[in-house]
Structure formats: C-alpha cells, structure tokens
C-alpha cells in the first residue's frame, strides 16, 4: 500500500509539473521506462501491465482527461480487463441481458431476440454498456495507481529517431521531447503519429466506417427505458439493425444500447458509401431514428450528446507492421476491429493488444533488450490469441457480404417481410395457399432451390 501511494503521489507531482510545463519546461528524458501515446483502452492496458511488472511508464493523453476524445458504440467486453484489475469500482452502465438482431426494410422489421438466462448471472458474459468518458478515465486511474504516470492535454506530434531506431516522442509542450527505450503507439484509428513516421499508410476509405451517435434521455418519462426495453434492475439490451431501413443504400448498420438512464443510438456504415452515395452521417442517423420500428422506442427523447468517429474495419489484411525498432502499435491504430455483423468488437481487442505489448516490453526490459527483435513476441502472441484468429476467421466474410449486399440487405429483408405477410394472412383461403405464396416469394428472391443452396454454401463457413 505504502509503495503504491508513494508512486501515486509521485505521479501527481509529475502531473503538476507537466501542467506547468509552459513555465518550467522540465526534462523527462530517461525518467520513464516506456512512453505510451494515448490513454484509451489499449494504452492504459499497456501502461497498467507494465506498471504491474515494476516498470515506470508514461501515459500521454491529448484530451483533457482519458476518454475525452474517445467514442464507441457502447458495449465493452471485459474478460481481459477483469484479469488485469478489480472491476468492482468500474463505471458500468448496464449489463447486456438481451441481444436483438433486426432486419429493416423501408417499413418492415424482422427480428431475432436472444435472452439466455445465463447473461443475467454474474459476470454477465463480460458484456456491459459504458461511457468512454467515464470508463477510460477509470481504467487510466488503475494504471496510475499501479505506478504509471499520466499526463493529459499533451499531444504527441512526432516520434524521435536516432540511428534508425525510435527513441522517444515529440510533444506540443515547450521543449516537449521525451525519450524512453520503448514507445507504444495507442493513438487510435486516426493514427497521425504512426502515419507521419511512416509506420503505417493512410487506410483506404473502403476499409473505414463512419459512425454518428446520440446519447438520448427521456426527460418526461423516468420509466421509459425500463418499460420500452422491458428491463429489470441493471439489465440492458444491445439492439442491432441491418438493411435499407437502418442505413439506406450503404453497407453497415444501426444500433440502440441502453445505459443507466439514457440510450445510445447510432449508425455506422462504409465511408466509401457515404461519399459515393452522398449519404451524410447526420441524415442517415435521422432516417434510422425515424423508422417505424425504431421511432416508438425513442419517442420524446432529448439529445444529451452527439458524437462521431471513424472505425478501421480493414481486418487482418490491412493490419500494419506492429513492431518497429523501439515501438509497437496497438488497438485501433493497429486496425484491431472485428465487425462481421453479428460480432462488433474492438475495445476488447484493444485491451488484449495493450496487454501483450505491455507484457512483451516488460520482459524485454527485464532482459535489458531493446530494438525490434526484442519486441517480436508481441505480434506473435497477438497472432496466437483470439484477436488475430477472429480477424482471420471472418476475413472472407466482408468481401462476400459486399458482393451479396443487395440481396442480403434489400431484396431478402423485403421478401421475408412479404413472406410473413403472406404466411400469416387472415383471409378465407386455406393455410396451404398462404404457405405456398410465402415460399414462392422467398424463392423468387433467392433463385429457387438452386439459388438457396448456393447462398447457403457461400456462407457455410459461418457455422464451421
């Protein structure tokens, strides 16, 4: 305990010195074992891991506090964070007790809802809605309590090189060069530092999704969230929407997540489609919110916060080299995002990559080794982990779905809605007539048994 509080006090002192940097311009060179660029989930996981292994890492954040610049949809998966630290004081909103997947055509909805009883029992499948402004700040505090130093409102503008290797960072503070044997680039998907230092190329826009989100409250109705989403206690939902009713002609989806007393509503879709189909994020969000199946859930809501971000969705194929002489790349900066429609993950993979990077650096430091070869086990361990395995497992899917997008997101949802209308039609014809009409409507769209079989074959790997 004593040791920890001393370190925390030391950290505070340095923090204050950093705050007065404009006046004093302190020299931090060689004060720290490693520098982490960005106090998001990947950066703080790396800092926490290193601090727990006895290193003194410096965590540099450009926002006013960790999380100030960060946006995500809303659900955080916590298996690795749980291993790294005690989650009792973590700022969770609600656990996910229901996942719902919904196809929206112009005015139809066809949905599947999943409510396994197990999700209501702790640890709730490690799935919680959080606000990044709260959670990232809390997670960075865990790193600081373990011995890391956090400096906020400081922007890393470049890397410092010497003899070909990376030996530190340049910041926007006066005399803002800071040197350390290891640099962790955890700057997010808008990776200006990594790109500026030629460690990665600008991602092609076909591999980027743009997202717009609102946090909504219900000022006139305290029970709106519990009633409309049928919630008891801390339970919450994640609703996922696909099809033209969710994101128009674009490839992507919409979502609603329940927080404690707000909901997060948003759309995320191909940036290339936003450009070529002239579909603005704001207008796409408005249309989604106005869909007949969505609007009743959001009636009389008031906007608490509007936010936007880009998501790197290139997957395994567009991952940059993760190791350089003196530096590693983690999290969104490394393109570690999985979106296959059913699984939407990124923050958990950020934490995982930060952990492996931190652990690798700690081992290298113990052995007194620097340079790229000393850090090579980071990408190797990441490749053997679920992170890269999952990215590779679904690498084929995005391309396939892209080819079938009209069928999957427009024709089929309409056909299913029409078939439901036929199948359940209440008139004086026998059920056999209705069933035949329903079947015919689906088969028209799929191209008969042959088409249906081909479609199933194209996606057989999904259930492998």
């Amino acid at each position: 305990m004593n040791d920890k509080s001393t370190q925390a006090a030391g950290a505070t002192l340095l923090d204050e010195r950093a705050g007065d940097a404009a006046l004093e311009a302190p020299n931090y060179d060689n004060d720290f074992d490693a520098i982490i660029v960005g106090a998001g989930l990947a950066g703080s996981a790396a800092a926490l891991t290193m601090a727990q292994r006895g290193l003194e890492p410096l965590l540099i954040e450009r926002g006013k506090y960790p999380g100030a610049k960060n946006v995500f949809g809303g659900v955080l998966y916590t298996p690795t964070i749980r291993e790294l630290t005690d989650l009792d004081s973590a700022p969770f909103e609600r656990y996910i007790g229901e996942k719902r997947f919904s196809m929206l055509s112009h005015d139809d909805e066809t949905a599947v809802s999943l409510k396994p009883g197990d999700w209501h029992r702790e640890p709730h499948n490690d799935s919680y809605t959080v606000f990044r402004g709260d959670f990232d700040e809390w997670f960075a505090e865990q790193a600081v309590e373990a011995g890391a130093t956090l400096v906020t409102e400081t922007t890393v503008t470049d890397l410092v090189r010497e003899g070909g290797g990376i030996v530190g960072v340049q910041t926007d503070r006066p005399d803002g060069e800071i040197r350390a044997p290891y640099v962790v680039l955890a700057e997010g998907g808008n990776s200006l530092v990594s790109e500026g230092a030629d460690l990665k190329a600008r991602e092609d826009r076909t591999n980027i999704a743009v997202a717009a989100k609102e946090v909504l409250e219900f000022p006139e109705n305290d029970e709106a969230i519990e009633d409309r989403f049928r919630l008891v206690g801390d339970a919450g939902v994640s609703y996922h929407y696909f099809g033209e009713g969710a994101v128009g002609e674009a490839y992507g989806g919409g979502f609603i997540y329940t927080n404690d007393d707000t909901v997060s509503v948003g759309v995320a879709y191909s940036l290339d489609d936003a450009a070529t189909k002239r579909q603005s994020p704001e207008e796409t969000l408005n249309l989604f919110k106005s869909h007949p199946a969505v609007a009743p859930l959001l009636k009389d809501a008031r906007t608490v916060e509007y936010s936007a971000k880009t998501i790197p969705e290139g997957g395994a194929e567009t991952m940059p080299d993760l190791v350089h002489d003196g530096a590693v790349i983690v999290g969104d900066a490394a393109g570690l995002v999985l979106n296959n429609g059913v699984h939407l993950e990124g923050t958990n993979m950020a934490v995982e990559s930060g952990y492996y990077a931190g652990d690798t650096i700690a081992k290298a430091a113990e052995n007194g080794k620097t340079g790229a070869s000393a850090l090579q086990s980071y990408p190797e361990r990441l490749e053997n982990s679920y992170v890269v395995q999952n990215l590779e497992r679904y690498a084929w899917l995005t391309e396939r779905v892209e080819e079938d997008r009209d069928l999957l997101f427009e024709q089929l949802p309409r056909a299913i809605a029409d078939a439901s209308t036929e199948y359940f039609r209440m008139d004086r014809s026998p059920k056999a007539t209705h069933a035949k009409a329903a079947k015919q409507r689906i088969f028209e769209t799929l191209g008969g048994w042959k088409g249906a079989t081909k479609l199933a074959l194209r996606y057989r790997k999904l259930v492998r």
Binding site: R62, G63, K64, G67, A68, K69, N70, V71, F72, D107, F131, R132, G133, D134, T152, E153, T154, T155, T157, D172, R173, G189, N190, L192, R202, E203, R205, I208, V210, A211, A212, E214, V215, T262, L271, A274, A275, R278, Q279, S280, P281, E282, N286, K289, S290, H291, P292, A295, P296, L298, K299, D300, T303, V304, E305, Y306, S307, A308, K309, T310
Partner: protein, 105 residues
C-alpha cells in the same frame, strides 16, 4: 384504418443544437486545412469531405471554390481525411487539450 403504420414523429435536433451538446475549446487556429488548394479548385468535382462530414465542417458552394472549413464544429472523427480521394486534407490533432471534449463518448 390508416394506410400507413402510425409512427411518432422524431424531433431531431438541428446540427447547431447537436454540436452544442459537446464542449469545445478553440485552439485559436484551424487544425484542418487543405494541403494543395489547386487540387480542390482544379481537380475535385465531388466534394467528398462535405458529403461525409457528420458536423458540417466542410462547405463549398461550387466545385471551382476552395472549401470553407468551420473547424470549430469538428468532432475529430477524421472521416474527411480518409474520404478525400486526393489525400488532400491536412489534419492535425488540436494542441494542448483543445478541440472537442466528450463527456460520455
């Protein structure tokens, strides 16, 4: 019976009101720019920066014009930087904690 399903009308905030929901510190100068003005005025016919921006930062009346940049609207999503087919958006992180601050995010 009405012919269409009854849908409550969504009262969406204007862009101005939406942008009021996040706090913002003006760094004093724009963190956004175009790299080569001639590319905008001579080559670009599509104004993709404008089409993809979730915050009406980029505006352009005519494809012969340089876009104007309302950088104080910026939500720092970087979609303009990725969208520009000419890689002509200059994007820097706002310095010393300035720019947008999300409370929730």
């Amino acid at each position: 019976m009405s012919a269409t399903p009854q849908v409550p009308t969504m009262q969406n905030d204007s862009m101005e009101d939406r942008l009021y929901t996040v706090s913002y510190d003006d760094p004093g100068e724009s963190h956004l720019d175009v790299k080569v003005p001639d590319i905008c005025t001579d080559s670009c016919e599509t104004s993709d920066c404008m089409a993809v921006c979730p915050a009406d930062v980029w505006r352009r009346e005519d494809t012969d014009d340089l876009p104007t940049i309302a950088y104080e609207n910026c939500l720092e999503c970087s979609s303009c930087r990725f969208a520009c087919p000419y890689d002509n958006v200059s994007w820097e992180y706002p310095t010393t904690g300035s720019g947008v601050t999300y409370k929730r995010g």
